[in-house]
């Protein structure tokens, strides 16, 4: 193989990318070496099994992926700003919209939310860790290496270019030769292992590790939404696993599942993809609903209105999410009856979603709202998401969809639901729980700047797209006609507004790290209602020293009334915690190596890597590491320091 077949050449933007990667990597290596941080990095982070640290690593990676996906978006918007623009060529444009979609859904939205779940769910239910801390570390590293594998494609081998949906036969070996599409298949496969494992892990955690006497219907709403999300993950992800595996076998070993020869059925891919893909959009929206519910209840200083209706509507939405997948391809000729069934099931989802919207409004009604940054994101979510939802029902009408299909109307719709739903929730949740993670708040003033830039940019960017879409502009084109110029130009300005908002958000993290006041109490917003606010900030690695015997709905409020804390010296006992281990990162690193080899169809090398992974699993099986106990003395010292109590 020639070197220029391995590295992508001939594209100035990509040379720029290579230089940037080389510079950033050597800067990181230099800083770590100069400040002698290698040992610290390995001991404290890379080998950790602490759910809070794993969650933070998830969120950091997701922010990096948001930056990457955002750069892709800006490149597309620059190309579409003027008719006859020559910023990207057709091939490069195809690659950019493919990676934008994939990165944002798989490597940004989901990991961000899973990161928040990692940190918050055990705290909300009064648990000391996940049910399987080791598996949790495996999950993170499989996501991380999957994301890395997908991301290096733009400098090594070439990016996939068949869209994030990778429809066959376009994505098959005949029409997409080369490693690009393999990067997509194996990057997603590797990350998918972790997602499934997290789903199982979190489900067992929620079912089995709740605080004494906390009933299912006493669980905070974010935990509920995470729990239902786990259900969706467990039944949807195996479908993706199979679909990706079949296409991989098609491309590398010449089978005929989705080919045009040998009686393969390209439509099979579309069905399999959306049988996973539609539930997937609820995997990224249901936890978001949970986050907004928590924030709205906290800053409206009221109990969440219609708690059980909220829970049941999440359950209903999750169930319906599996029954609507055909609405992604109404125009592919399934026939009037099939289209009608899926049209109606699609529109039905609006009912439980509407219930939730009214519950949020009901919570706000006659309350004293505190307009903090987290609350602003949540309030902005409601009307923005309603626009996305209403246009979604419009798209759900099969007959009308023949007009909207593959137009910018659709693009506007799903950005309205995914950004106003998921991205706002990620920001809101990060701001809201930031003091729990790092022991200080994000600066509120800078946060508001970031919020307004992003919110206004968002509407300026996507609202015009409804109209360009109705004007007939299709998605996935890289040249615009002159009559689409004005609205496209406005849209591009909006996209840069969002970029500025994100930049300010990141700057805020740095600024707050330097200048924000450190937290002294665990209940940073003074109005926390649920258990995560009952422990100290930053949270001790064992989470809770003690818990009250009876934990009900709005557990912290009850505790405050009864004057109880999570540090009852009379009830202290040694706490059992798992040990750190380097096995997860090594095991997944080897698996990533095998995947990389398979991308280039070096089958022998891939097999060696796979055997290495299995050997690692064997080694793990013989590992009877029982963890360690945190002594009562150490708990006392930690809690007294964190709570600012005097030593005797």
């Amino acid at each position: 193989m020639q070197l220029d077949e391995f590295f992508v050449t001939g594209e100035p933007l990509i040379y720029g990318g290579m230089v940037a990667i080389a510079l950033v990597t050597s800067a990181i290596l230099f800083i770590l070496t100069y400040f002698k941080k290698w040992n610290w990095l390995w001991r404290e982070w890379l080998t950790t099994v602490d759910h809070k640290k794993i969650g933070i690593m998830y969120i950091l990676s997701a922010l990096a992926m948001l930056f990457r996906g955002g750069m892709d978006a800006l490149m597309m918007r620059v190309q579409l700003a003027f008719p006859g623009m020559n910023f990207l060529n057709a091939q490069h444009y195809d690659e950019v919209f493919t990676t934008h979609g994939t990165v944002m859904i798989i490597f940004m939205a989901m990991p961000f939310l899973i990161g928040l779940m990692n940190i918050i769910v055990p705290l909300q239910i009064g648990a000391r860790d996940f049910a399987f801390p080791f598996v949790n570390a495996i999950s993170f590293w499989s996501f991380f290496f999957g994301a890395m594998l997908f991301n290096i494609s733009f400098v090594i081998g070439g990016s996939p270019d068949a869209g994030w949906t990778s429809y066959t036969p376009l994505a098959g070996a005949a029409m997409s030769p080369g490693p690009g599409q393999n990067f997509y298949l194996l990057g997603l496969q590797l990350a998918g292992i972790g997602t499934l494992a997290t789903g199982i892990n979190l489900m067992v955690t929620i079912l089995k590790m709740r605080a004494p006497s906390m009933k299912m219907f006493h669980m905070p709403i974010f935990t509920w939404s995470s729990f239902i999300t786990c259900f969706i993950i467990i039944f949807a992800f195996p479908i993706l696993t199979v679909a990706l595996a079949l296409m991989t076998i098609d491309r590398i070993f010449g089978s005929q599942f989705f080919t045009l020869t040998g009686e393969g059925l390209p439509m099979m891919w579309t069905n399999l993809f959306w049988m996973w893909g539609h539930p997937e959009v609820y995997i990224v929206i249901l936890p978001a609903f949970g986050i907004f519910s928590e924030i709205i209840a906290t800053f409206a200083k009221k109990r969440l209105f219609g708690y059980s209706a909220m829970v049941w509507s999440i359950v209903l939405i999750a169930g319906l999410s599996f029954l609507v997948w055909v609405h992604h391809f109404f125009t592919m000729g399934a026939g009037a009856f099939v289209n009608s069934v899926f049209s109606i099931s699609t529109m039905l989802i609006a009912v439980p979603t509407g219930v939730k919207i009214f519950n949020w409004l009901g919570t706000l009604y006659k309350s004293k709202i505190e307009f903090s940054v987290a609350m602003l994101w949540s309030l902005a979510f409601i009307p923005s998401f309603v626009i996305g939802g209403v246009t979604g029902v419009m798209l759900g009408m099969a007959a009308a969809d023949f007009q909207f299909h593959n137009s910018y109307f659709l693009v506007a719709h799903f950005h309205y639901v995914l950004i106003a739903g998921t991205v706002f929730a990620c920001f809101a949740g990060l701001v809201y729980w930031y003091p729990k993670m790092f022991g200080h708040k994000l600066n509120e003033r800078i946060g508001k700047w970031s919020f307004w830039f992003f919110l206004i940019g968002f509407h300026v960017c996507f609202f015009p797209q409804f109209f360009i879409g109705l004007d007939g502009m299709p998605r996935r084109i890289f040249y615009i006609a002159p009559e689409w110029f004005t609205l496209n130009f406005i849209s591009t300005i909006g996209a840069f507004g969002m970029g500025v908002g994100f930049a300010i958000f990141v700057y805020n993290i740095y600024y707050s790290f330097r200048y924000s006041e450190r937290e002294t109490t665990g209940d940073a917003w003074n109005n926390g209602r649920t258990l995560e606010w009952a422990t100290a900030a930053p949270v001790p690695h064992y989470n809770f020293a003690t818990l009250p015997d009876k934990v009900g709905y709005d557990a912290l409020l009850d505790m405050k009334e009864k004057g109880e804390t999570t540090f009852d010296e009379s009830k202290l006992e040694p706490i059992h915690m798992p040990n750190n281990t380097g096995k997860p990162i090594i095991m997944m690193g080897i698996l990533a190596f095998a995947s990389f080899a398979l991308v280039f169809e070096w089958v022998t090398l891939a097999a060696i890597g796979l055997i290495g992974t299995i050997i690692m699993m064997g080694i793990r099986s013989f590992d009877y590491d029982d963890g360690h106990y945190v002594s009562v003395d150490e708990i006392k010292r930690t809690e007294r320091a964190a709570r600012g109590l005097n030593d005797e």
């Binding site: 399987f132 079912l207 479908i239 076998i249 049988m275």
Partner: protein, 201 residues
Amino acid sequence: MSEQDIKSGPLEYRTENGRLAVLGFWIFLAAEIALFSTLFATYAVLYGRTADAPLPGELFEPTGTLIMTFILLTSSFTCGIAIHEMRRGSKKGLITWLIITLVLGLSFLGFEIQEFIHYTHEGATIQSSAYWSAFFVLAGTHGLHVTLGIGWAILLLIQVMKRGLTPVTSRKVFIIGLYWHFLDVVWIFIFTGVYLLGMVM
């Protein structure tokens, strides 16, 4: 979390970790059901799309398939006895019956490999048509699971020999028992849905 450990009941359920792991594995099996269902659905959709390759009815033969089914069902039974021996606290009984299970599993694999080689010689390979792709991937995924199960069980045998019956080893053995029965259930669907239907239609 030793305070939640209990003194009676089956060994594998006595520690909190054991109970968590068993529940987690049941949920994992739910995901496995979703995985095999997808493969079965794929097979059903691609049924009959054989292009120029032989039809399944021409290649499938009842005797071999029946022997394989008999072997695998028996191995599930012996696996059940192994768990029963474990519950009785007999380390020797557990090891003996687990080894018998493994031998049966290995002979099942042998038959399956022979069968695949035979089909390949007759001109039905994973590349020859959509139908045969679906067949080999469905049956092959099951075979791969059996292979992994055998490797896994050998590792557990070594651990049981070294450490005896502890809450940890008994939990591991109990879980592989669940896994082995699950593979048996999947095979029943393959036997009826793939082989019997393929021979009849």
